[in-house]
């Protein structure tokens, strides 16, 4: 095969058995790779009703056909499993170098089933693989684990691993690769921990074969030349200030979630935005494999309390731990970020859960004696200390480790958890960006902007500006962006490059450039229609999994704060999110029933009529 390596490695952790399987060409074309492979495998093999932290759960790590080809940002892999945070499906993706190494070692995807009796790691070296003892790594940070594994396997090996948080089954534990790249969301690290799988270590020296190398090279040169010309015209904010530069946009459009989503602007925003990060803490930027952008931040903080060196923060971390907790001390945010990277935690859920705890204390529903320390808005030391305690499940950290929904519900106030399907939102306020609310409510993984990101058209004006406060007509555009995201996530690309450079310039964002890359790489000869259909197939298959896990329209929802409490400040002052109005229109666009269930006709059209488990 071309583009695809043609092999999947199945790892039965219970029996300690490894088996290689061929990739079926029809499944490869229909589901593309990455996220698509994940749902294709899970719908046949995982019980949607299983306990996510039991041996019954199945976990898939899958690259896309463009991963490792040299296509710009073709560096990503996806982890899919049933989430211990949401009980729904999850797909959490990351870049760096590990995913490319996995393909160069000969595999498109890894399937993990069962549970190892003792801690183990998977060592893959150019097509051969074995499970090895990991008892000596248990309890080690992601950084220490990576260093130890490279010294005992190969100095050039790439590592994806969990930290202590994953071992302790923190419900939002991340899988970290190349030390600081995170498949952060929905607790994929806890699933690894529950399986006693500490790490996957890979060394690959092969190449990804291309179906038409000349065509690939020509299109690649043209794409990069166009990208570079545009960057000369308008220097790329993502390169200069990283994703942290977005604070300027969200603050000025009034969608920077602040004080656990009680406000849409933050008075301390200038202390936490990208320019401050660059001026005070940036050492250099860092790019994933084959990425011309380089949004990663290598930072260093000289501070007696918050000092350190590492990677981050991203915009989402700055919102969750900064404005949302009203912490305007960027050094404290960075320190908490470093702890998350080393312990293996999702920074979004961590920050949002602490913000929720701050509001619970503020409203008198939670006592500081229970927390074991003062917990006022803006307390940077509390942010850092509680992050450390959460990774260790120490004291009150044991309750924070359950995420904001379970914490707030245990105190009788679930309405104070800013979540969809029990997963905390990223940093865009739906009252000031209406389609964002629809995207959060309908994302299969719960609160997320990465399964169709309306911020592109509502806030960034890509491919063209659309009024962020209008809700009518948003369902159709949101669905188009969700379809595009499914294709990007499955191809192995990064959204930061693909939306601007590889999609059509109309609001239905057809994946034109991605199609060109895919066809040159794989020879699968996708028509544009087939590729859009593949995106729809992936989303609908994920929806089927959710329906079988017991989800329905009543779960496609937002907290009352967003739908019933008018935003008190900023440009979107007075607005609520008109979710219900958008939802009806959205289900019609998807050809799902009024209850959000895919119709038989829809399933048949996408080749999904065959029942999964």
């Amino acid at each position: 095969m071309h583009g695809w390596m043609g092999k999947i490695l199945r790892v039965d952790l219970t029996r300690g058995r490894l088996r290689e399987e061929p990739l079926e060409p029809k499944a490869a074309k229909d589901f593309i790779g990455g996220r698509g492979f994940g749902i294709h495998i899970l719908r046949r093999e995982a019980d949607p009703g299983c306990d996510p932290l039991s041996a019954e759960n199945v976990m898939v790590m899958a690259t896309g056909p463009l991963t490792g080809t040299g296509a710009p940002t073709g560096a990503r892999y996806m982890i899919m499993t049933k989430s211990p945070l949401t009980g729904a499906i999850t797909c959490s993706n990351a870049g760096g170098r590990f995913p490319t190494e996995l393909k160069q070692a000969g595999f498109d995807a890894l399937i993990f089933t069962g549970k190892a009796e003792q801690p183990v790691y998977l060592w893959i070296e150019d097509g051969s693989a074995e499970l090895r003892d990991a008892n000596h790594l248990w309890g080690k940070t992601t950084h220490a684990t990576t260093d130890m594994l490279r010294s005992e396997t190969d100095a050039k090996a790439r590592v994806a691993c969990i930290g202590p948080a994953g071992e302790r089954l923190v419900r939002f534990a991340a899988v970290m690769n190349d030390k600081d790249r995170a498949a952060g969301r929905s607790g994929v690290g806890a699933v690894m921990g529950s399986k006693n799988l500490k790490a996957v270590v890979v060394r690959g020296t092969g190449k990804v074969a291309l179906a038409d190398p000349e065509r690939f090279k020509a299109f690649n040169q043209e794409t990069i030349a166009r990208f570079k010309a545009a960057a000369r015209e308008t220097p790329l904010g993502l390169t200069i200030n990283g994703t942290a530069g977005v604070v300027i946009t969200t603050q000025h459009l009034g969608v920077l979630p602040t004080k656990n989503w009680q406000q849409g602007t933050f008075s301390g925003w200038e202390q936490i935005h990208g320019e401050t990060l660059s001026a005070k803490y940036l050492v250099r930027n860092k790019a994933c494999y084959a990425c011309p952008i380089g949004c990663g931040r290598i930072t260093r903080v000289e501070d007696p309390v918050f000092g350190g060196e590492g990677e981050g923060p991203e915009y989402e971390t700055i919102y969750a731990m900064g404005s949302n907790c009203m912490v305007d001390n960027l050094a404290a945010v960075i320190k908490a970020n470093y702890i998350c990277n080393e312990q293996g935690l999702d920074t979004i859920t961590m920050g949002a859960t602490i913000a929720c705890a701050m509001e619970l204390v503020d409203k008198g529903f939670l006592q500081e004696e229970t927390v074991g320390r003062p917990l006022a808005w803006g307390d940077g030391e509390a942010l850092v200390e509680l992050t450390r305690m959460t990774a260790a499940r120490e004291g009150f950290g044991d309750r924070l480790a359950e995420g904001s929904y379970r914490l707030a519900a245990s105190l009788g106030h679930p309405e104070l958890a800013m979540v969809a399907k029990k997963q905390e939102f990223p940093g865009y306020e739906p009252r000031g960006a209406q389609a964002m609310g629809l995207a959060y409510a309908t994302s299969p993984i719960g609160g997320s902007h990465m399964r169709g990101d309306p911020a592109y058209f509502e806030l960034f004006g890509i491919p063209e500006p659309v009024d962020p406060l209008e809700w009518r007509g948003k369902a159709k555009i949101t669905k188009s962006f969700q379809d595009l995201s499914a294709v990007i996530d499955s191809a192995g690309l990064c959204i930061f490059f693909a939306v601007r450079n590889l999609a059509g310039k109309s609001l239905d964002v057809p994946p034109t450039g991605i199609r060109e890359y895919l066809n040159a790489a794989t020879g699968a000869d996708y028509t544009l229609e087939e590729l859009i259909r593949a995106g729809e197939r992936i989303i609908t298959a994920e929806r089927q999994f959710l329906i079988r896990a017991g989800f329905s329209r009543r779960d496609d929802t937002l907290p009352a704060r967003l739908t019933a409490e008018p935003l008190p400040d900023g440009p979107a002052k007075g607005m609520v999110c008109h979710l219900e109005e958008m939802l009806d229109e959205y289900y019609r666009e998807q050809n799902w029933s009024e209850e959000g269930i895919p119709t038989a006709e829809r399933l048949a059209a996408l080749g999904l009529e065959e029942e999964g488990r």
Binding site: E233, T234, P235, L236, G237, L238, I240, N241, T243, A244, G245, V246, I248, T249, T250, H252, L253, G254, T265, G274, E275, E314, Y315, E316, P426, G427, H449, M450, D453, A455, Y456, L459, F460, G461, I462, P468, I495, F496, V499, G570, P571
Partner: protein, 77 residues
């Protein structure tokens, strides 16, 4: 009339002496587009203009004392 202007990221290079925050005198009735012209920002530049905290179009007229913020839109995550 005089408006106060703040430029961020890629637009900083059009600010007088690269200053982040400055005041500028414009003819009465001037629009956002006239301000951009004065600063030498090319017409094709991808940017967001917010006046007194609201995102506005380039044709929007400015008033004396307005606070204008200019920045390039970019994604986050």
């Amino acid at each position: 009339m005089i408006v106060r202007v703040k430029c961020f990221t890629g637009l900083r290079r059009y600010a007088p002496e690269g200053r982040k925050d400055f005041a500028i005198e414009l003819d009465a009735g001037a629009r956002v587009a006239n301000l951009l012209d004065r600063l030498g920002v090319p017409v094709a530049t991808d940017l967001i203009a917010a006046v007194n905290g609201r995102r506005v179009a380039r044709e929007t007229p400015l008033q004396d004392g307005d606070a204008v913020v200019l920045f390039t839109p970019m994604e986050g995550g």
